[in-house]
């Protein structure tokens, strides 16, 4: 584990993600590229995980289509601040749909970890919770402690709104944990877990 000199949040991302998924065992998960994909995979591979390895900015929008298609399931996006910043407009689209089964968890270290820890806009003034609120998501919250998992999981499992949790994590890099990069395989096994045929 390599620590950055800049202290951002206090939360250990790997521990947080593992506990969050354990608390939301039924959730359909879409991950943003880079470290969030590694975190979710490191927590234990699941058929109901859709790992993005590219398509930066697309995780929340993809989850929107999925959540509308699967209204009885809870859809959970686990992404990073940089990825969500690229897809800010998707928050407006999610707010417009007023769906009840979509949660976005932003693992916010204020930096682009994958590319050398350059500062992102969240450490330069952007508050994603404020953005989510302004986009009329049903709830949004800052999470600075591990205990925030309970509140997030409650929303995910209740399927009672759309929301965003901005989780302040330590700006540090972990060893990469690499999920499958074969998109067709990931797609087909995800669909199979929903009882859907491969194409």
């Amino acid at each position: 584990m390599k620590s950055s000199s800049s202290q951002y949040g206090e939360i250990d991302r790997r521990v947080f993600v593992k506990k969050l998924i354990a608390a939301c065992p039924e959730a359909l998960i879409v991950t943003g590229l880079g470290s969030p994909s590694y975190d979710v995979y490191a927590a234990g591979d699941r058929d109901q995980n859709f790992y993005l390895w590219g398509a930066m900015g697309g995780a929340s929008a993809m989850a929107l289509g999925l959540a509308i298609a699967q209204p009885n399931k809870s859809v959970l996006v686990i992404t990073g601040d940089g990825e969500q910043l690229m897809g800010l407009g998707s928050l407006a689209s999610i707010g417009a749909q007023q769906i009840k089964n979509l949660t976005i968890v932003v693992l916010d270290n204020g930096h682009y970890a994958e590319t050398g820890m350059q500062k992102s806009h969240t450490s330069l003034g952007t508050d994603l919770v404020g953005v989510a609120k302004a986009c009329s998501l049903d709830w949004s919250m800052h999470v600075k402690e591990m205990s925030g998992i309970d509140a997030i999981a409650e929303h995910v499992n209740a399927k009672n709104g759309s929301g965003l949790a901005n989780v302040f994590i330590k700006a540090e890099e972990y060893p990469k944990a690499l999920p499958a990069r074969d998109g067709v395989y990931i797609k087909n096994r995800f669909r199979a877990a929903l009882g859907l045929e491969p194409f």
Partner: protein
């Protein structure tokens, strides 16, 4: 043709909506265009379809793929200027082999008053092809239904990625109120 206004009701637009309806489309993502307005209104009025306005076309690419991931058919409506916004997001389609259908109203190719539309209009077909998406085009009102139906089946029966371009001549000149 020259006197045609963009806001006119066209029977071929009904045909597009009917193809969606008969084909079981559940979600229609869009960035609006005058040429799509009639279909967008019909989608909003249909209780079995979700109309999904997106703020940029690339979000529509991701959302229609998410719909298929969850077992629903979804279509993306946009104009040619939006195709350039989508290019990297098309990677999802390629990597995951999602069935994909988009219908694109063309700008910058027929009596275009606003030449800012022209560079992307000129590059639209090639941009799709560079990203591995098949392109079909409808130039005449009487062929729209047939072309859209062929693209629809190629996408949702055959699993292909298809873009259908609707020529600007179909939609008519945009009225600018200037001489």
């Amino acid at each position: 043709m020259d006197s045609k206004e963009q806001s006119l009701i066209h029977p071929w637009k009904d045909e597009i909506f009917q193809i969606f309806k008969a084909g079981g489309v559940s979600q229609v993502a869009y960035v609006p265009d005058a040429g799509h307005a009639q279909v967008i209104n019909q989608v909003w009025a249909d209780k079995d379809m979700a109309a999904i306005p997106v703020t940029t076309e690339e979000d529509g690419v991701a959302s229609v793929c998410g719909a298929w991931l969850g077992g629903q058919r979804a279509v993306l409506l946009m104009q040619s200027s939006g195709v350039g916004n989508c290019v990297n997001m098309f990677s999802i389609i390629n990597n995951c082999r999602f069935p994909f259908l988009t219908i694109v109203t063309m700008r910058g190719e027929w009596a275009e008053f606003n030449q800012w539309q022209t560079p992307m209009g000129r590059a639209t077909e090639e941009a799709f092809q560079m990203m591995g998406i098949n392109v079909l085009r409808a130039d005449r009102p009487e062929t729209v239904g047939e072309v859209v139906s062929a693209g629809f089946d190629a996408a949702f029966e055959g699993g292909d990625a298809v873009a259908i371009l609707l020529s600007q001549s179909l939609i008519g000149r945009k009225k600018w109120g200037v001489k």
